[in-house]
């Protein structure tokens, strides 16, 4: 693909003068995208930054503010005396992300390795890939509702527990550990297939002769996996990890539906975006919501820069390889 890409862009350069007169069409074709981006993404973002500096909230039926307060909202959001300060919310979000991501990356690596292993020659790969990717397309809120129904105090799992042990129902949603576990489990189920496919594509890109050379040199299959495969797919691993982290910071649907927006028990499963949703929708505290958005934006922008450099490095690598020939 990279070679074709270069082949495609070379004539563009060569005929620069010839197509110069068409350049106004470039602007015309870009216009809808640019306008919509400015109106629906850039402008709201600027407004969000603006609100973060103001005291502006609804108290009862009347609005307080907007009154310029500088960085007061940012100070307030770090207030440790409140239950929903940003450190607690970030901690909740990250714990649930890690609990889902660690098994996800391990299983995905293992499956991608098995699927691409020439020696193993597994069959029915199409079937396994299809089934494992499916949960990724499921409506997260409906999936969370389904899991809630199945694991609720009167749901089938508790019926089974009561039936086999003869004891009490286990109230999954009354404990932090089991609630977080359920959220992490759902995230795992929804994303491991997707990660497997991405890692598979990366592993299939490894030159067969490298592995063969290692085999001839007497490397064991575990050595080949740890020393060669893993180090060759490191860029994709980094990419998967960072995009997953960005996705993890946005975690909303699953814990929102599972705990009915409460982050129960005791705000221990309330994520950053759940709090943001609460501040915009129900509490109407725009100043606080703005400050939180700005912080999430800065973190995500920093992470996006890493992804961007990953792409940029990837492209220039391919170009220099082509140029070297």
């Amino acid at each position: 693909m990279a070679q074709a890409a270069n082949a495609g862009s070379a004539p563009v350069k060569a005929r620069k003068g010839q197509i110069g007169k068409y350049k106004k069409w470039g602007y015309i074709f870009m216009l809808p995208f640019t306008l919509v981006f400015l109106v629906f993404q850039a402008w709201p973002l600027i407004q969000t930054f603006y609100y973060s500096m103001f005291k502006y909230f609804k108290s009862g039926l009347s609005w307080v503010g907007p009154e310029f307060v500088g960085f007061d909202n940012f100070v307030a959001i770090f207030d440790m005396s409140k239950g929903s300060n940003i450190l607690v919310l970030t901690w909740n979000t990250l714990i649930m992300w890690v609990l889902g991501f660690v098994p996800q990356i391990i299983i995905s690596l293992l499956f991608a390795y098995w699927f691409t292993n020439v020696r193993l020659r597994l069959r029915c790969l199409g079937f396994f890939k299809t089934v494992m990717y499916m949960p990724n397309l499921i409506m997260a809120s409906a999936f969370a509702m389904l899991i809630f129904s199945i694991f609720s105090d009167i749901g089938p799992i508790n019926e089974l527990i009561k039936h086999t042990t003869g004891g009490e129902a286990f109230r999954f949603l009354s404990y932090t550990g089991s609630t977080m576990g359920l959220v992490a489990f759902m995230n795992f189920i929804m994303w491991f297939g997707n990660t497997t496919i991405l890692l598979m594509a990366a592993m299939m890109g490894i030159n067969e002769s490298v592995i063969e050379a290692a085999e001839i040199d007497g490397a064991s299959s575990s050595q080949i996996f740890w020393r060669i495969t893993l180090s060759l797919i490191r860029p994709i691993l980094v990419y998967v990890m960072i995009t997953s982290l960005i996705g993890g910071l946005q975690m909303f649907d699953v814990p929102q539906i599972l705990t009915n927006g409460q982050g129960s028990p005791n705000n221990t499963t309330k994520t950053l975006i759940m709090y943001l949703n609460e501040q915009i929708g129900t509490s109407k505290n725009y100043g606080m919501a703005g400050a939180l958005s700005v912080i999430i934006f800065i973190v995500c922008a920093a992470l996006s820069l890493v992804v961007y450099y990953f792409f940029a490095a990837d492209r220039s690598n391919k170009k220099s390889k082509k140029g070297g020939k």
Binding site: M1, K24, T130, M132, L146, Y239, L249, S293, I296
Partner: protein, 303 residues
Amino acid sequence: MAKKEKVLEHTSALQQNRTDPDMKVKPTLIIHRIICYIVLVFFSILCLFFFYILLVNASRSHYDIMSGFSFLPGNQFINNFQSAISNTTIPVVNGVINSLIIATCTAVLSIYFSAMTAYAIHVYDFKGKKFIFNFILLIMTIPTQVSALGFFSMCTDWGLRDTYIPLIVPAIAAPAVFFFMIQYMKSSLPIDIIEAARIDGSGEFRTFNTIVLPMLKPALAVQAIFSFVASWNNYFLPALIIDTSTKKTMPIMIAQLRSADFLKFDMGQVYMFIFIAIIPVIIVYFCLSKFIIAGVSLGGVKE
């Protein structure tokens, strides 16, 4: 010397492995394969298990569901379906129609205009083109939630609350679709074809619509599916924007189901609601799965 022999032995073993796959396979390899299949089957079952329970419980009556667990479907499917669609507190038929309208419009707009933008960057040479390309690449992974506050207050100011405009129109600027399309164009849209069309007297706009778009069909289809599904499943923004109950989309109705007093509900109906929300996507997926999975591994970029 010994080492050399060992190497030779090893290479011949490798060759053997390749030439006759089933005749002389090492027993360890067979064990390894069996372990692989067991683990893979286990995870496949794990993926399907909950949806199977969904199917089973959607076809059982409330009384049956409450009286115990079952692995066999019941015969109340039609009944549950009828009571679900006639429920007045949660107008599920409206929900499906609304979601379909929004998701279809979103998919069409996002692929058409993002492909158009990608075409502009790919084919034309103009000032700032590189900057724009890099900028779009940079914002691709920034979540839309961070600007939700400004978006929400803007919609309130402009009277766009409770309409579908803020849910549909922003799809025109879809960075991920743009990126996928430009990658695809680089690999399979030769500039010569556009030049040829120009010589034949085709206008730029017509060239894009009648010559370029048909060539992009496979990529457009994959991205249309992803956009459709993302919009169908979207909960965060619609929940903030839509207030009227008949305008609500499926995910909001599912959330309503969760916040309603759970025990009052007919459980058969609850499972049927979830079934209606999930199944259309699963059906589309199983029809087009080959396509979709190829798209995932090709794009590498998906929200």
